[in-house]
Each structure stands twice: as C-alpha cells, then as structure tokens.
C-alpha cells in the first residue's frame, strides 16, 4: 500500500533564499506524523506548500496517489487535505458557527454539515455555547479549537495542524494536545507541526526533526523522545 502523503525531495524558496532544501517523508493513513524543530526550520513553509499556498521549486508531493504540484490552493482542500494554519487565522468578524460553515465551503450535503457542526461542538463544548459570538472575541485557546474544528469540517483525509499549542497557557495546551490524541484515537490522519517537541513526539507514530530546511533526524515518536541529541536540543535537557 502506498502512503497517503508522499513528499519527495521537496524544495521551496522565497526568492533566492531556500527555506526547504529537499526534504522527503511519508504519512500513512491513520498515522500521526510530526515535524519538530526551531523557528525558521521550514516547518510552516512545508505545510503551506503542501496546501498549495506556496509553489515548490522542486521535488514531488503525492497525495492519495495524485501529484499536488499543479493544483491551486483552493482545490487542494477538495482532495481531502485540510490545513489549520499557524496563528489560527480564524475569520474574526464572523460568528463561530459561520467559521465552521466556511470549513465546509465546498460541501453540499446539508444534513452532513449540520452533523459535523454538532460533532465540532461535542469535541469543543465551549464553541457550542458561544456559537453566535464573533470569533475575534475568543481567547487564543478557543480560537485554536475553532481553527481545528473548522479544518475538520471539510472531512479531511489528512489534517495538517501548524503549531496548535503556540502562545497557549499550559492548561490550554494540554487540552489541545488531549484533543489531538482523541482525534488520533478516532482514526484521523494528522500531520502535526510543533515547537513543543515533548508533547508532539509523545503523540506521534513518526517524527522528523527539521533544521534550517533539512530533515536531520527521523524515527518513531518514542525513539526520538529518547534520542540524546533530541533531548539536548529540543527537550531542554543537558
């Protein structure tokens, strides 16, 4: 069986500066795969390229057997690849419910959409309580929940989460990570980008460590969690 997502020798540049310098990795259906690394390692650039917001200068992206290289961003989501972007980027002047509905923009199955909205509210009860409230008035953690709920509304085959714990309080971070674990248990395939390496690796089946545009180390989540160099560089141990 081929992997759901296959990235091969992917290179992305901003002008002359290469931000991603030829990385390869796979995501199998049902897996949680994480990319960890410091700021500027190229993690967000990688996700933005996968969802079509950036165009690669080289390499291959195959998703569900199809090349994504020529597909414009607004069509990628219809293939089953949803992206919850870094910094959450909810639509601030729309209500929570309208944000969720935008996540289902391309869907036409009205009953299915209503069911999935309810599912998002079950996953994040606080969103259900405030469904009419403008999304811009939510706290950071609540906005993160909304961004994840919105991404799920497209019924993705692969959910990409970019820095879901960024800027959150420790309690809120735990809550978000617990939700990701719950999604994983439900069988959702997830590509997770995180700076919080400890939390991400604990959840992940596979992990890749990125440094200045390259993958420098790969392994199972547990292997990386116990790798000495990872522990030194990313888990704050000496």
């Amino acid at each position: 069986m081929t992997a759901l997502l296959e990235v091969e020798d992917l290179r992305v540049a901003y002008g002359k500066i290469e931000a991603v310098k030829g990385i390869s990795f796979k995501v199998e259906a049902g897996q949680v795969v994480t990319l960890i690394g410091t700021n500027g390692a190229g993690k967000t650039t990688t996700l933005r390229t996968l969802s079509g917001l950036l165009k690669p200068v080289g390499g291959q992206i195959r998703f569900n057997g199809r090349s994504l290289k020529k597909i414009p961003a607004h069509e990628v989501v219809s293939l089953g690849l949803a992206h919850s972007p870094e910094g959450r980027h909810i639509f601030p002047r729309m209500s929570i419910e309208d944000n969720l509905r935008l996540g289902a923009f391309l869907r036409n199955d009205k009953p299915g959409i209503e069911k999935d909205i309810q599912r998002a509210y079950d996953l994040f009860p606080i969103l259900g309580e405030r469904r009419k409230q403008a999304a811009g008035t939510l706290s950071g953690g609540e906005q993160q929940m909304l961004a994840m709920g919105r991404a799920l509304m497209s019924q993705p085959k692969l959910l990409m989460l970019d820095e879901p714990s960024m800027g959150l309080s420790p309690i809120m971070m735990q809550k978000i990570m617990a939700t990701i674990a719950e999604l994983k248990a439900q069988g959702t395939t997830i590509l997770l980008v995180e700076q919080n390496a400890q939390a991400a690796l604990s959840l992940a089946d596979q992990g890749h460590v990125m440094e200045v545009g390259n993958i420098v180390l790969s392994g199972t989540g547990q292997d990386l969690l116990h790798d000495e160099s990872v522990r030194k560089a990313y888990l704050g141990e000496d």
Binding site: L53, A82, P92, L102, L106
Partner: protein, 310 residues
C-alpha cells in the same frame, strides 16, 4: 428659498447616487486593498452604455418604459466588461507588486478611459443629451420630486437589498466576506479567491452603471468627464461610511449627499458666510466633511476595526 423637507429629499437622492457608486470602491478595497480610481470612469462608461442602447440600437422614438430596462442592461454590460477587463489585464498582473503600482495604474486607466470615450464615442467631445422620462414632476405635500429621480428612488433601495442578500446569504457572498477578512485562509477553505475578486469588480461595476443611468436621468446629459468629480464624491462616501463596509458605502453616500445639499442651501444664512452658499461651494463642503471625519473618526462611520486583522 426651498423648505427643509425638500432639501432633505434632494440630499437623499443625490446621496443614494453617491452610494451606488461608492459600493464599488468599498467592495474592491475590502477584498484587494486597492483604491480603484478608475471606478468613476466605469460609472461613466455605464452611462454611455445606456445611451448607446437608446441612440444607436433601439429604433427612434422607443418609449422610455420599454427603453429603460434595455438601457440598464446595456449600462451594466458595458461597465462590467470594462471593470472585469481592467481587473484581468491591468490589476491582476500587479497583484503582488508594491501597492503604489496598481494605484498609479488605476489613475492611468481612469485617464485612458476618459480619453477613449472623448476620442471615439460619436459626438462625445461635448456633453450628450440623455433620454428623459416624460411626465411629472410629482408633488408630495411641499416636496417636489423630478421624474428623473423616480428611477433613483426605486433603484437605490432595491440595489442595496439585492447586495445585502447576496453578501449575507449566497455561497459566493460568504466567500467574499472570508476573502476580505483573510485571503490566504479563504483559499484553505476552498474559496477561489481569484474568482471572488472578479465578482467584486463586476458587482461594483453593475451598481456604478445603475448610478450612471440615474445620473443621466437626473441631469439630462452625460459627458466623458462625469466620472471624475462624482467618482471622488463616491470615494469620499465610501471612506465616510467606513471603507470595506458595504452598508457604510450607502450610509456614507446619503450623509454626504444630505450634508452637501444642506450646506449649499443654508450656509449663506449664517452671518458672514453669505459668500459660501452657492452651488460652486458644494464640493468644498463635501470634502470638508471628509477631512473632519478623517480627523475624528478615521475608520469611518461604520468602520471596520483595523486591529483584528492580526
């Protein structure tokens, strides 16, 4: 001297016309942050589109009741074509260029469109007579409404209602709101933002064309320069109402129209101000209002808060 109710009605009518044109400025700005300075000329080409239908396509002496709907279609068709063409060939190639480039392009396009009509439209080197609706005027108590303005009274609220329905209720309208708030994330939702931008230009042009027909019916003549001052006024209305907000455009238009009309009518009554009440001062008062709003409420009357565009 005219009574206050009459002045208010005059201002309301003038303001609705500003509002119809202001919608185009505000929609395009809301989505691509471009001040389309050629929008006044799109309004002008719309008026000429209507004139073309009446003068060159319909047989002589066609009743206005038959002609007007066809003229409207002609106006909208021409204006939308010009606007969509401008977007495709002038603005889209500059989408990622520094902000100044599309702005200067817009000013250039505005001059080019004026000169094109001047040079190539038959007898357009001076003003052309616009067909009028016979009958009227109508009297409502002390208020007189000119026949040409009846069109505006009907068209402006219908246009606004159609626009509000479109933006709030249709899928494309919701896609438009999302694109205005966060274009990249809109793409992640599956929204074809290039298409949304075209729709914004086209819709704005359609309302400007309706405004162009209203102008012709109101003043009885149109010329290649008519879009310049009216475009500036409509832009002022858009800023006044809060640029990016479609309801603000209409409200800004009405406030501007009423303020301008009242200033022209009554400012001469203030002791020492007797020189400042003539029609030629109307534009001055309109832009004084703009300056005041920019000083004290820069986001406009219904302005979008800028801070939440994080």
């Amino acid at each position: 001297m005219n009574e206050l109710p009459q002045q208010l009605v005059n201002g309301l009518l003038l303001g609705s016309m500003y509002g119809l044109v202001a919608i185009g400025y505000t929609m395009v700005y809301g989505i691509v942050q471009l001040i389309n300075f050629a929008h006044g000329e799109i309004f002008m080409t719309g008026a000429f589109g209507a004139l073309t239908v009446y003068a060159y396509i319909l047989p002589d002496g066609t009743s206005m009741w038959v002609a007007l709907p066809l003229m409207l279609i002609g106006a909208v068709l021409v204006a939308v074509l010009v606007a969509v063409g401008a977007e495709r060939f002038a603005y889209r190639p500059l989408r990622t260029a520094p902000r100044l480039a599309p702005l200067i392009t817009a000013i250039g396009l505005s001059l080019a469109l004026q000169q094109a009509v001047w040079a190539w439209y038959p007898e357009a080197k001076s003003a052309r007579t616009f067909p009028q609706i016979n009958g009227g005027p109508f009297h409502l108590g002390s208020v007189t409404i000119q026949t040409g303005d009846v069109f505006l009274i009907i068209a402006a609220p219908i246009s606004m209602a159609v626009l509000a329905y479109f933006v709030m209720k249709t899928r494309t309208g919701r896609g438009m709101q999302a694109t205005a708030q966060d274009p990249d994330t809109a793409k992640l939702m599956g929204i074809d933002t290039d298409r949304i931008i075209v729709v914004a230009f086209a819709l704005g042009a359609a309302f400007a064309a309706i405004g162009g027909v209203a102008y012709g019916l109101k003043y009885g003549q149109i010329d290649f320069r008519m879009g310049f001052i009216l475009g500036l006024k409509a832009f002022t209305a858009a800023v006044l109402g809060g640029i990016g907000n479609i309801y603000g455009a209409m409200i800004g238009g009405v406030v501007l129209g009423v303020a301008e009309t009242l200033a022209t009518a009554y400012i001469a009554d203030i002791p020492g101000m007797d020189k400042f009440g003539s029609q030629s001062w109307a534009d001055v008062w309109a832009f004084v209002l703009l300056i005041l709003v920019l000083l004290f409420r820069p986001q406009g009357l219904l302005g979008e808060r800028v801070a939440d565009r994080a």
